[in-house]
Point group: C2
Chain length 220, copies 2
């Protein structure tokens, strides 16, 4: 399998985490979003990123949409099942993954300089996840180890740490509002799968500073 990926793209980051968690064999084809090759544009006219290319006996097949790709991988590789086997819990997790889109929107608002509105959306979403983790009473959303929901939200949580580079005092103050989520986040950083594809807060900070000057908002 081959993943077409734009470096630092959080949706592609999701797929990398799942490929790693499933110990699948894969290669990554890195795309430069400012110079997408002609053959890629032809194959993928809606310019969706990431794309998973799956070789089959009938030729290569393609999948789009990070959540659909990750669910596909979880079903295709049955070892280390990431979704709950309980259909109700799985459904709940899918709703929470959708709910998390509000934090993603909030992050983009912050990036677009509407900082007050964006950070309020982030705080409100974190509040939902703090309560959910408290309710579940487990270390991870998936139980005693990270599951699909943990990995689906992780790329944006890892990126939140760049805010510490902006204002350390304020970051630690906000962090104190979500004690369970903060503990979860500390543990996630020690997970082997997470470590394999991690970047430091400073790397994200530099990347996003640079990305803004190149108006790459679409790919963030």
């Amino acid at each position: 399998m081959r993943l077409y990926h734009v470096d630092m793209n959080p949706y592609g980051h999701r797929v990398l985490l799942i490929l790693e968690a499933k110990k699948a064999k894969y290669e990554v084809y890195k795309l430069d979003p400012l110079r997408l090759p002609e053959w890629f544009r032809n194959k993928n006219p809606r310019l969706k990123i990431p794309v998973l290319e799956i070789p089959t006996e009938y030729g290569d097949k393609y999948l789009f949409e990070s959540v659909v790709i990750c669910d596909y991988l979880d079903e295709k590789y049955t070892r280390n099942q990431l979704h709950s086997r309980d259909p109700y819990v799985k459904a709940q997790d899918r709703l929470l993954i959708e709910r998390f889109n509000e934090l993603i929107k909030g992050s983009l608002e912050c990036f677009d300089t509407n900082f007050a509105f964006g950070s309020e959306q982030i705080i409100q979403t974190l509040d939902i996840f703090e309560k959910e983790l408290t309710l579940r009473g487990t270390n991870y959303f998936g139980g005693h180890r990270p599951g699909m929901l943990d990995y689906m939200i992780w790329p944006w949580v890892e990126r939140l740490y760049l805010l510490r580079c902006v204002n350390e005092r304020k970051f630690d103050e906000k962090r104190g509002l979500f004690p369970n989520f903060a503990d979860w986040s500390d543990q996630m950083q020690l997970d082997d799968v997470v470590k394999k594809h991690a970047n430091s807060p400073q790397e994200y900070f530099d990347y996003y500073k640079n990305a803004r000057t190149h108006s790459m908002g679409y790919y963030l």
Copy 2:
């Protein structure tokens, strides 16, 4: 199980079809969207419709989002599996269900009187589904019988027939552009599950005419 449903709501229609296809035991609680009861507002502050209420030993649980509810039902009741057992086909079908949202948006545009733009979106989406059906070479998207994709798109296709009440000649002319999809649609109308929850084109026509005067766009 109990489905909280607004009469004629196409998202609730999806869930009714799946409950029926799975031969699940259920009751329907009909809500009047203009007079949502206080207890419903408290239980469901985001006013999502439809809602599936699932009684458990730990009290009632709730699920939202028609697609999530229908996938839940397909996993919970293993008889008559509606999604493909092939993870790639299932993933493809999920992408097509998402793609179909453009036809839904197009229908709403038509309702909002932006008829030219809306009908163009409908035509473009039908073109994708016509090609997909031709490619699959089967009577239904699900093969020799309707599957999840067939039922997920059906509520809006059933409603498209109301356009025949507006302009019969034009309807038949457009229908001729999508011969395989038109055949599929004819067969779907004979399906027992579909028949159980069907309304006539005239009923939809009268309903939507009336709904517009009550500005119920949100619930359509």
